[in-house]
């Protein structure tokens, strides 16, 4: 693997058969590769998450990030689309599952795909990664500081999502959780509770919480970035996907 890749914007078939925009990055010069669906954070289908998508390709995985806000604001810039999606209360859970299913099907059908698909999501995408892994047959899932897997949103929040830890018995694959010990959403107590729920359900998982890191510590262009946590977190991701997805 020499980091060579090709990346482009494509259309994929998402929930309800809708065609939605997606960003795909594939490794070049590799006969066989595993696959990753990348779920963007709440600020949207942005440059930072496209960079993450390319990073997976540079490490030998085909990675595909669906634009979850495509229907809310087709053709709009990522920040305008995120504002439009927010005004509607966020991405409905059912639609998210349909879009990830479409992304996974697209990846499985690629020439060279080994048929194994993992999912990773950041921020709101962390919760959505767990949701997808509890709703679809996948090989590995990573939840990066997803809020409201455990616990209700605060009173008065017009968020159209609720806790989904009760779905744990349906988790279809091993789960890696990466969290900041200083985060409040999810709080360390909520992370512990999810850990307990998964253990009771007999689901394979490994959680890591980083001291000195809060929410969004992977975001290199935000003050929340924590280099030690992010570097170690990436290593955990490579080890984890290497075990369950590699070519």
């Amino acid at each position: 693997m020499d980091g060579a890749l090709i990346a482009e914007t494509i259309g994929i078939t998402g929930h309800d058969g809708d065609e939605i925009e997606a960003y795909i990055a594939r490794p070049l010069g590799q006969e066989s590769f595993g696959n990753v669906v990348v779920i963007h954070h709440m600020p949207g289908y942005d440059g930072g998450t496209k960079e993450i998508t390319r990073r997976f390709a540079a490490h030998g995985y085909a990675a595909l990030m669906p634009n979850l806000y495509h229907r809310d604001a087709p053709g709009a810039s990522p920040d305008d689309a995120a504002a439009a999606a927010r005004a509607k209360g966020g991405v409905p859970d059912e639609r998210l599952v349909g879009d990830v299913a479409g992304a996974a099907a697209h990846l499985r059908a690629l020439d060279g795909s080994n048929g194994k698909v993992g999912v990773i999501g950041y921020c709101s995408g962390g919760r959505q990664s767990f949701l997808a892994a509890c709703s679809l047959p996948l090989e590995a899932a990573v939840d990066c500081y997803g809020a409201f897997v455990v616990g209700n949103p605060p009173e008065g929040m017009p968020l159209k999502v609720g806790p989904i830890a009760h779905l744990a018995p349906s988790l279809s694959c091993p789960l890696l959780g990466l969290f900041g010990a200083d985060d409040q959403y999810p709080s360390p107590e909520q992370v512990d509770e999810l850990d307990k729920v998964l253990t009771e359900a007999g689901k394979e998982h490994e959680f890591h919480s980083y001291e000195g890191a809060g929410h969004a510590f992977f975001s290199v262009d935000r003050p929340a970035y924590r280099v030690e946590a992010a570097n170690d977190g990436w290593q955990k991701i490579w080890d984890f996907f290497g075990r369950y997805l590699a070519g």
Partner: protein, 86 residues
């Protein structure tokens, strides 16, 4: 965190966005991750005209301190306006 905390109001006026001036019909005020400001959370205001699409938007991301100062300045300006103007 992803708060989604949002106040929505109707407004009358105009704003200047990427495509020039447009009529404003709505505004949303929320506390969440900024797109651009170098802070973990900011008070964000979107001035909008949803009927003209998601790009009809004037956005600001302010620190909490700046947002409070802005709110005070708006109130003070309106309070000190000569009678009959507002």
């Amino acid at each position: 965190m992803c708060t989604y905390l949002t106040e929505k109001i109707e407004v009358a006026g105009s704003g200047k966005g990427a495509q020039g001036w447009f009529t404003l019909t709505d505004a949303t005020v929320y506390l969440d991750h900024p797109q651009h400001a170098p802070a973990e959370h900011t008070l964000n205001i979107d001035f909008l005209n949803p009927a003209s699409g998601p790009s009809a938007r004037v956005a600001v991301e302010l620190t909490a301190e700046s947002a409070r100062a802005l709110a005070r300045a708006i109130e003070a300006t309106l309070e000190s306006a000569p009678p009959g103007l507002v």
